[in-house]
């Protein structure tokens, strides 16, 4: 393989890795606070993508505005899901919320089939994102530059919120001890809503960029990326934001590189993530950066 090829693959890999990372963050944040695997997260990713293309094709919004609106609406949808499907089960055994999340996942998928129809739709991409740039021998899709950079900026914003703001302090407290956080005056339900809002916004951003990269919309498009991002979160250490980012990047890079270097294995592309999951669960069950999370009452 030539150097030029390798560089192209690297950009592709970083793109896929960033997209996984953005989804994985939502899984890990919700798990960190509620010990809940939010199976509906992949559908939130899917909604983000649909909303944007609705905005562009039906409402004729300019791209930039459509993206902002879609992220905001998806974020609110995530908050609504928590409010309707998880909050009433806060004091119930944890398995109830888990089952509820599977229900929400099916519900949103089917709602999307009804509203958007099950027929895959092609995405019209703005030219400047897909007109190949040639630098020497390297041919680069501008999208594969834009996605990692935007993702990186979103993650910086997230770290700022979590480590430098008061609601962020509330999140870090709740993830360790909900009851004592409440005694200190942290409005727990509002912080949990904020967590869902942020996680869903990042999933929407990922869904939108995914649909630009792989330009097709369909109601089940969130299932496989959702599963893989969940694996990435577990691999990185569920509960840890840095772990989710690392896990997402590693998974994306390995997936692209394995297909690139061992094309005969390309058919096993999706199975590969599960192999990674099994290995990490055997070797280090808490994931790369995870610590043991106590069960909370």
């Amino acid at each position: 393989m030539s150097m030029a090829m390798f560089i192209q693959h690297l950009f592709n890999a970083l793109t896929l890795g960033s997209l996984y990372a953005l989804i994985a963050i939502g899984y890990t944040m919700v798990y960190g606070i509620l010990r809940l695997i939010n199976f509906a997260h992949g559908e939130i990713f899917m909604l983000g993508a649909y909303f944007v293309f609705w905005g562009v094709t039906l409402l004729h919004l300019p791209w930039f505005l459509a993206v902002i609106v879609a992220i905001a609406v998806t974020s609110l949808t995530g908050v609504l899901v928590d409010r309707v499907a998880y909050r009433p089960l806060r004091d119930a055994p944890r398995i109830s919320a888990l089952i509820s999340s599977i229900g929400v996942s099916f519900f949103l998928q089917n709602l999307a089939i009804v509203v958007f129809s099950a027929i895959p739709r092609e995405v019209q991409r703005p030219g400047w994102l897909v007109d190949i740039i040639v630098v020497g021998k390297v041919r680069i899709l501008p999208l594969t530059l834009v996605v990692p950079v935007l993702s990186f900026l979103l993650m910086l914003g997230l770290l700022f919120i979590v480590y430098k703001t008061k609601p962020g302090l509330g999140m870090r407290a709740i993830s360790k001890d909900i009851e004592t956080s409440r005694l200190m005056g942290v409005p727990v339900n509002r912080i949990i809503a904020l967590t869902f809002g942020i996680g869903s916004a990042l999933a929407a951003a990922s869904g939108i960029m995914w649909a630009l990269r792989y330009p097709q919309l369909q109601p089940v498009m969130g299932v496989i990326p959702g599963f893989k991002a969940f694996i990435a979160a577990v691999f990185g250490g569920i509960g840890s934001i840095q772990g989710a980012v690392l896990g997402g990047l590693i998974l994306g890079i390995m997936e692209i590189m394995i297909v690139a270097f061992l094309p005969t294995l390309a058919g096993y592309r999706d199975a590969f993530a599960f192999v990674l999951l099994i290995i990490i669960l055997l070797v280090k069950p808490t994931g790369l950066l995870g610590e043991k999370l106590e069960d909370k009452v």
Binding site: K166, L169, R172, A173, D177, L183, M184, G185, P187
Partner: protein, 234 residues
């Protein structure tokens, strides 16, 4: 300041509080003593809004506060330092203190109270960037009290602050409680260390399996035969 009237609490089938009444007058130290499982923590947790009452009344400055979520109770001026300290081990000492001030927005007031907490506990000031979990037991207790004070409470409820501390530190904890009381905080103190808490309390209640069986001034109870036999080792 705080009046609890005929309070009943159930945990499922367990009748944990069977109609208790307590008064905490402004500016005083009131203590609640009793054996394991008597319902001391349940009383504080119900006032703090963590546990729902079955019946009865909780009045704070004349207003009913039962049914309020804990964050509103804190805002109103009642804070609880929970049993076992419950420091956030992964957060710095400063973040732990700032969590105590979560319900506040008055930046200047928060700064002033930080300085006050540093004055009360100089050891905390030296360890601001250290993780809460790396503090010694005594330091953690100081942090728990300091964190509670950061909410600028009128009423401070402490659940067994001397639990598990060496005798010298126990003494220090009770001195601190007297100090913060002298500086204007009303205190509702739950303790198993009956002797030390009765000595500093203006008024005291003895709780046995969910009921108040005895009450009086701290001195009265120290001199009471039944208290001496049951709680002061004869």
């Amino acid at each position: 300041m705080l009046n609890v009237r005929d309070l009943h609490v159930h945990y499922g089938g367990i009748h944990a509080l069977k109609g208790i009444s307590i008064d905490v007058p402004s500016g005083k130290i009131v203590t609640l003593i009793g054996a394991n499982g008597a319902g001391k923590s349940t009383t504080l947790r119900t006032i703090a809004g963590l546990v729902r009452k079955s019946s009865g009344e909780i009045l704070y400055e004349g207003k009913p506060i039962d049914g309020w979520p804990p964050e509103d109770v804190v805002k109103a001026g009642i804070v609880m330092g929970p049993e076992g300290r419950r420091i956030f081990p992964h957060l710095s000492v400063l973040d732990n203190l700032m969590l105590g001030a979560y319900s506040r927005t008055d930046k200047d007031g928060i700064e002033r109270d930080l300085e006050w907490v540093y004055e009360l506990f100089p050891r905390l000031k030296e360890r601001l960037w250290q993780k809460g979990g790396t503090l010694s037991g005594g330091e953690q207790q100081m942090l728990a009290v300091g964190r509670a004070l950061m909410s600028s409470p009128k009423l401070v409820m402490l659940d067994e602050p001397s639990l598990g501390l060496a005798p010298l530190l126990v003494k220090e904890v009770f001195e601190i409680i007297e100090t913060i009381n002298q500086q204007g905080k009303t205190v509702l103190l739950v303790e198993q260390n009956a002797f030390a808490s009765l000595k500093i309390a203006h008024y005291a209640y003895v709780l046995e399996v969910g009921q108040i069986v005895l009450e009086g001034t701290g001195q009265d109870l120290l001199n009471d035969k039944r208290v001496q036999e049951a709680y002061l080792g004869g």
